[in-house]
């Protein structure tokens, strides 16, 4: 399974499914990362975590551990 964590900086991926449950999952979806949306991985924080992505035309940061819950293709 490929997740958002595996997507390299500068690449775009399409969200297939969100795993996990509860608050974190809902928060990720509330911020616009839902099935079918394209996510562009813009950069890595200077200390290697979290990552910055562009989704629905705005910038969002999330931790790698949470990015692992997002299955992409």
């Amino acid at each position: 399974m490929k997740t958002l964590r595996d997507v390299k900086v500068g690449e775009t991926a399409k969200v297939v499914k969100l795993h996990g449950e509860g608050a974190v999952k809902r928060r990720i979806m509330d911020m616009g990362i839902t099935k079918g949306v394209e996510v562009y991985v813009r950069k890595l924080a200077p200390l290697g975590d979290p990552i910055e992505v562009n989704v629905r035309n705005y910038e969002l940061s999330l931790r790698k551990a949470d990015a692992e819950m997002i299955e992409v293709q």
């Binding site: 911020m31 200077p46 035309n57």
Partner: protein, 781 residues
């Protein structure tokens, strides 16, 4: 009044909501907190119609039950039932902003949408068909520029009209299976609710939103058939109900916007993107961050202007302390009152109690205002979110936010603005944790304590100060890890999924208003605690019973009929000091109470009345610990000064150093006394006892001013006491372990003490390493 209209202002964070609120209400605002939580609440009267109240809801992305801000907002909307919602929407980011709109329109409250930042949309060459948007959403849409003030009146007017007349019914649909389930739920579970509320509760029941379910009080059989309907839809759409709803909202919005949002922009990098490319660049991010942090510190807390530094804050604070607080308020009021022949106790109460406390409060204000000014600028321009982005990796391990870096940094100068700076942290759990741990960092006023101990017992060794910082940081780390596993903290989830807003030039109005609001709330809320505490300590240290007569000890000691030689001998004997060292303060209530109380500190190695008194006066201001030693060890020149400084004046780095220089000049004597005394009462382990004393004073409850700030930020009596209680307990435990374990090596080991120390150490380690799982539910009502 019944016909007064109430409008709720709702919208995403960074959508210009605060700016709009300021433009709508002008100066008529009331700032407070939502009851029982640390979330700020603002209300104001509409400028165009003073009978209309506007409530600024917290900035939110959704109405989920998972974050505190969202729960606060939805509780207000459902329970207080405002007459209308004014929903501000960032035109440059319609998709995500309208996601909240689709939820707001389900509440059945008349809604007006104000599209902000249309100028930026046009600048990109894009366009939005507002008429069509209004038709599709079923509510009035107006165009505004919150920053320039365009369209504000129209938006306000539209909201008033909607409040008087309209109803907003949700226009958006979900997919067939969901709509079917919702209709079914409305029928079986919600038939008694008013028509306009049905949709909201149907969706919430469908999402299995526990907070909404609780609210409805359904019978078990109804619950079962609701669950059946949900499961049918879930099976058909192969996803969980919550995800289905979220998904379909976004799908609906994307579809709707296809015909409404005309994109012409070439997709070229915006100015904001270009700035961000540099500012959070892999290699430049940390240096830039360091420079910005240095500037924040140097301007607010650093060395003052005219003394090799650039800090206008410290410059003004020094002035406020020395001139305004010390000379004008305290000494000035004393001179005036004495010239009026006012009774000495009243002079003392007013000058040394009340005015000294007021002076102490005012002393912080300049530094605080400069600091808040810079924090407001960082927040308004969008850099604050990047700080969290850069520092998150380090701080999240200790249950803190990347933004906790600023409070800690500021805390090295003074803990009070440090605690207040925690306001920028959006997650309540992180915020509370930061408030609790910030004062562990040795602040400027604790430096004299470190200097005294290092000078008196460790031959001025620099490792004492270094170890103090190390202990402070370790205390934060250990406390963070331990506390996040406790019941008080474990309940709240802290997902770090954060928007990085576009950079923009900060608005002067917003920044100034934000700065003033924070400064004022400190004066008002923290100020009362500080003044009250100053009065109490003043009373305890200047009143007492001398030879059977109660009164001000200074006055009684001048009366030779009361203070006979015989009596002095008695006091000297009681206190265990030579006769010529007997001071009026030795008869104060504080000194009398200190003797029995000092038993508490016996297991820490400094169970003597002098360190006990010093620890208590340290609550007024930490450098008072040194001042008190000066008085108690009969250090005349120093004593005179200490009286002056009992104004509660807080010394910062420079002043702290100045005190130390004086002590160094005439210091040998007091150092010898301190060293001799510590060696004496600790049975020859003076160094260890002094180090334990220092640790306790660094980690225990901070000065009253900082306690006031903690109370202000916690906005809860329970949490304030919890914070203070934790700090004192932690300080006690650490000092206990150091003293007991230390004697294992230094000799004079106490077996029971050693066993207890090892048990405590074991408990700390157990709490540190026990597994921990982040909770998923929010525990707020």
């Amino acid at each position: 009044m019944a016909n007064e209209l109430r409008i709720a202002l709702a919208g995403n964070p960074n959508s210009g909501k605060t700016t709009l609120f300021n433009k709508l209400t002008g100066s008529a605002q009331f700032v407070g907190n939502w009851p029982g939580v640390t979330v700020e609440k603002k209300e104001g009267k509409l400028m165009v119609d003073k009978s209309v109240t506007v409530t600024d809801l917290p900035g939110i992305y959704s109405l989920s039950p998972y974050t505190l801000e969202e729960v606060v907002a939805r509780n207000y909307l459902i329970e207080e039932n405002p007459d209308a919602i004014l929903n501000i929407v960032d035109g440059t980011n319609l998709e995500r902003n309208l996601y909240l709109t689709t939820q707001l329109t389900e509440l059945g409250i008349p809604t007006v949408i104000a599209i902000n930042m249309m100028d930026l949309v046009r600048k990109k060459g894009d366009s939005i068909n507002l008429k069509e948007l209004s038709r599709q959403l079923g509510c009035k849409v107006v165009e505004i520029s919150a920053l320039k003030g365009d369209g504000i009146k129209e938006a306000a007017q539209a909201a008033i009209e909607a409040a008087k007349s309209g109803k907003t019914l949700p226009q958006h649909n979900f997919s067939g299976p969901v709509d079917h389930a919702l209709a079914h739920i409305e029928e079986i579970a919600l038939s008694k609710l008013p028509e306009e509320r049905k949709r909201w509760y149907a969706v919430k029941l469908f999402e299995r939103d526990e907070k909404a379910v609780e609210h409805l009080d359904l019978s078990a059989s109804v619950k079962a058939s609701v669950e059946e309907a949900i499961q049918a839809a879930e099976k058909e759409l192969d996803d969980d109900a919550e995800s289905i709803i979220t998904n379909e909202r976004y799908v609906y919005i994307a579809k709707m916007l296809k015909g409404i949002y005309k994109k012409k922009g070439s997709g070229e990098l915006s100015t904001s993107d270009k700035i961000d490319k540099i500012v959070t660049n892999r290699f430049l991010a940390l240096p830039i961050f360091a420079v910005i942090m240095w500037l924040v510190y140097a301007l607010s807390m650093g060395a003052p202007i005219g003394d090799g530094g650039i800090s206008i804050g410290t410059f003004l604070t020094d002035w406020a302390n020395d001139v305004l607080g010390g000379a004008w308020l305290t000494d000035g009021s004393r001179a005036i009152l004495e010239s009026w022949n006012v009774a000495p106790w009243l002079v003392g109460l007013i000058s040394d109690g009340i005015f000294a406390g007021v002076g102490a409060v005012l002393g912080f204000v300049p530094q605080m205002l400069v600091l808040f000014l810079m924090l407001c600028i960082l927040e308004d321009c969008g850099y604050m979110a990047r700080i969290a982005f850069i520092m998150d990796r380090i701080f999240r391990r200790f249950g803190l936010s990347g933004k906790s870096f600023i409070p800690m940094l500021v805390g090295t100068g003074c803990g009070i603005p440090g605690v207040m700076a925690s306001r920028t942290i959006e997650n309540e759990r992180d915020r509370r944790m930061t408030v609790m741990t910030t004062t562990f960092i040795p602040c400027g006023a604790k430096m004299p304590i470190i200097g005294l101990i290092a000078g008196a017992l460790f031959g001025g060794s620099t490792w004492v100060a270094t170890s103090a910082y190390f202990i402070g940081i370790a205390a934060i780390v250990i406390s963070g890890i331990m506390l996040k596993k406790t019941k008080m903290f474990a309940g709240d989830p802290a997902p770090f999924v954060m928007e990085l807003p576009a950079y923009h030039v900060p608005s002067v109005g917003n920044v100034l208003r934000g700065t003033w609001e924070r400064g004022w709330s400190f004066i008002k809320r923290a100020g009362t605690v500080i003044v009250l505490a100053s009065i109490i300590i003043w009373f305890l240290s200047s009143f007492g019973t001398v030879n059977g007569k109660f009164g001000m000890v200074d006055a009684l000691y001048e009366d030779e009929e009361v203070v006979t030689e015989e009596y002095v001998a008695q006091v000297a004997d009681r206190m265990g000091i030579p006769e010529d060292e007997v001071e009026p303060m030795d008869d104060s209530i504080l000194a009398h109470v200190a003797q029995p109380v000092s038993v508490i500190f016996k297991p820490l190695g400094f169970g003597d009345w002098k360190p006990t008194v010093a620890t208590v006066t340290g609550l007024v201001a930490k450098e008072e610990v040194v001042g008190t030693f000066g008085v108690l060890y009969n250090f005349e020149a120093r004593a005179q000064q200490a009286v002056d400084e009992e104004t509660g004046e807080l010394l910062f780095d420079e002043n702290g150093e100045a005190v130390m220089e004086e002590l160094e000049e005439n210091g040998d004597q007091i150092w010898e006394n301190v060293a001799a005394d510590f060696n004496d009462f600790s049975g020859g382990h003076g160094k260890l006892a002094a180090y334990s004393f220092m640790i306790f004073n660094l980690l225990c409850a901070p000065c009253f001013a900082a306690i006031g700030a903690i109370k202000r930020e916690m906005n809860s009596r329970k949490w304030t006491w919890f914070a203070i209680g934790y700090q004192c307990t932690f300080a006690y435990v650490v000092a206990f372990i150091v003293w007991q374990l230390g004697r294992l090596f230094a000799g004079g080991m106490n077996v029971i003490g050693l066993i207890l120390a090892l048990i405590l150490l074991g408990l700390i380690c157990w709490q540190l390493f026990k597994p921990y799982k982040e909770a998923n539910k929010l525990t707020v009502k």
